[in-house]
């Protein structure tokens, strides 16, 4: 049975002390509620500085929420854990270790009793999985940006986490490399039914990868504006996704949000019955007859 609330955030907020002495403390976000299903791929979109990394760090246990809880698999979490692997925005490889050493280090941390040979064989499997051939003995400084991100992903996958947390893993890459890596990540996650929470700036990336997209308003005091259900078929792939009739409704909806609606949140909610515990769920589609996903799903048609 699929756990509908595999990850569940309950009223998360994060307050930082004011940068100036005696100033007001800064509330980055507050009252954040959302769930992630087991095996689901969820993307978080929001403007720079709205608190996405802060939220991901809290999910990872690297930072503490000022208020609220995170429940993972039925248990409250507030410490980092091998169950939740992180791919960092800046790859965060150890520069004094080779590719093999970087990944073996992670494998060894998880499977403490394994022999060296077993650790390296396991690490090799993940190096091959992300398509890094002949790079085992290279140091990170000898790799391209795309290769470093692959190592970061291989390292995260190699500990066989229950949840994968990715912080804009592809934002520093050129379009072609990014596309290839997105496709690979999608295949890996589909095969392993990996639960993924990923931050991105890139709308097309979210449409390709995510089952659902969480939209975060601008900070300070950011909120979840709405949760967008991906209306494209599950077997979508990069080369054909844009031909589907629901592609432009999805894309335009997300674009509208980033360009205009992320800022006007305060106004919008005063005119509606916004409930932070149940942010609106939207399923942009070319066809109004699409089956309703849930009671408060709003269908938006742009055709």
């Amino acid at each position: 049975m699929i756990d509908e609330k595999y990850i569940s955030t309950q009223g998360l907020s994060r307050v930082f002390p004011s940068p100036e002495k005696l100033g007001e403390p800064v509330t980055v976000f507050s009252d954040i509620w959302f769930n992630v299903k087991q095996g689901e791929f969820v993307c978080l979109i929001g403007h720079s500085g709205c608190g996405k990394t802060t939220l991901l760090n809290i999910l990872a246990g690297l930072d503490q929420a000022s208020d609220g809880y995170i429940i993972v698999d039925g248990k409250e979490q507030n410490k980092p854990s091998l169950d939740r692997a992180v791919v960092f925005q800046s790859h965060a490889l150890m520069p004094w270790m080779t590719v093999m050493q970087n990944i073996s280090y992670a494998v060894k941390s998880k499977f403490k009793s394994w022999s060296k040979a077993k650790i390296e064989a396991h690490a090799q499997k993940y190096i091959d999985l992300v398509g890094l051939k002949n790079a085992n003995n290279k140091k990170p400084s000898q790799l391209s940006g795309g290769m470093k991100q692959r190592v970061g992903i291989a390292r995260a996958l190699s500990v066989q986490p229950k949840i994968l947390l990715l912080d804009e893993p592809f934002s520093a890459l050129d379009a072609l490399t990014r596309g290839n890596l997105q496709e690979e990540l999608l295949n890996i996650c589909r095969q392993t039914k990996q639960t993924v929470f990923m931050i991105t700036h890139d709308i097309d990336e979210a449409i390709l990868l995510a089952n659902r997209v969480i939209l975060m308003t601008n900070g300070p005091n950011a909120k979840i504006r709405e949760i967008v259900q991906n209306t494209l078929p599950d077997d979508r792939c990069r080369n054909t996704v844009h031909r589907h009739p629901n592609y432009y409704p999805m894309r335009n909806h997300l674009m509208d949000f980033l360009v205009a609606r992320s800022e006007t949140f305060a106004e919008e909610i005063s005119r509606s019955d916004y409930d932070p515990k149940n942010p609106p769920i939207v399923a942009p589609s070319a066809n109004l007859e699409t089956e309703m996903e849930s009671e408060n799903t709003t269908h938006i048609s742009l055709v």
């Binding site: 965060a92 520069p95 400084s141």
Partner: protein, 282 residues
């Protein structure tokens, strides 16, 4: 590419030789222009020094110094009583004292530096002491050391310890406190235990900075040991220099200066090699 580089190297090497030759020729010219006569000497001072000081040039020629150095290299370890030991023995004493003092400094400075670097509280608490202790000339400790330890050799070692501990301590603390947060975060998400984290993440990350501290420390230690041995006497290259000055053997003083420079360079090179081993490119 590599041929251009080696070409540059050869040119630099030839230029170095040229500079050396010009230096030696100038030196020789100055000595010859003085005509082998002793420079004008205060009569009282001359009387004090006795007849031996007269007649011979106070400045030896490069040839004299060269043959003296060669003599020392040919027979570095002779021992003809407390005032006449081979320069090799004297250097070995000095290098030994520096190594022991430096070794103790490593044992103290690196763990303490780790502690200071990891804990802002301990850093703040110890900072005033470090700030006061650091600028004290290591030789100022000598009387205190002699008084309490009552052994000139160990006192010199203590002085070396004191002078090498600060650069190592501060560099270790700095290196540890500036380890990238993301590397620490990686080890946290891998549930790495604190001791393993210190050994496998913080130490290699801070190693280049720690090595910089060690290089500074060994440089200072080698400067200080000469002065310390001049002060306490007995053995060591510092004592050798002072003893030869008392013998008015300027040739030997210059030869000793040459050896001090050579060993100092060697010590630095050894640490530079180790630095290269722990360096990483980010």
């Amino acid at each position: 590419m590599s041929s251009i580089l080696s070409n540059e190297k050869i040119k630099a090497f030839l230029l170095s030789i040229l500079i050396f030759v010009v230096f030696v020729l100038l030196w020789q010219a100055i000595v010859s222009s003085l005509g082998g006569e002793a420079p004008e000497m205060d009569p009282e001072y001359a009387a004090l020094m006795g007849a031996t000081a007269k007649g011979a040039s106070a400045i030896p020629s490069p040839g004299d110094v060269g043959s003296e150095i060669w003599g020392h290299i040919a027979d570095p370890f002779y021992d003809a009583g407390p005032n006449d030991k081979g320069v090799g023995i004297q250097l070995a004493y000095s290098v030994g004292r520096v190594s022991i003092g430096f070794g103790f400094a490593i044992v103290v400075a690196i763990p303490l530096g780790f502690l200071i670097g990891m804990s802002p509280l301990i850093y703040r608490a110890l900072d005033p002491f470090i700030q006061i202790m650091k600028p004290i000339s290591p030789l100022a400790w000598m009387p205190l050391a002699l008084y309490t330890i009552k052994d000139s050799g160990i006192s010199s070692i203590f002085v070396i310890f004191i002078c090498s501990v600060w650069p190592m301590l501060l560099n270790t603390a700095f290196g540890v406190s500036t380890v990238r947060k993301e590397w620490i975060n990686v080890s946290k998400t891998l549930e790495v235990k604190p001791f393993r984290q210190a050994l496998t993440v913080i130490l290699p990350a801070a190693a280049p900075t720690i090595m910089t501290g060690m290089r500074i420390a060994i440089g200072i230690a080698w400067l200080v040991i000469v002065a310390a041995e001049m002060l306490v006497g007995g053995t060591g290259i510092g004592y050798f220099v002072w003893n030869e000055w008392n013998n008015l053997s300027i040739t030997n003083v210059i030869a000793a200066i040459f050896f001090i420079g050579m060993i100092g360079m060697l010590l630095d090179q050894v640490l530079a090699q180790i630095s290269r081993l722990v360096a990483y490119e980010d």
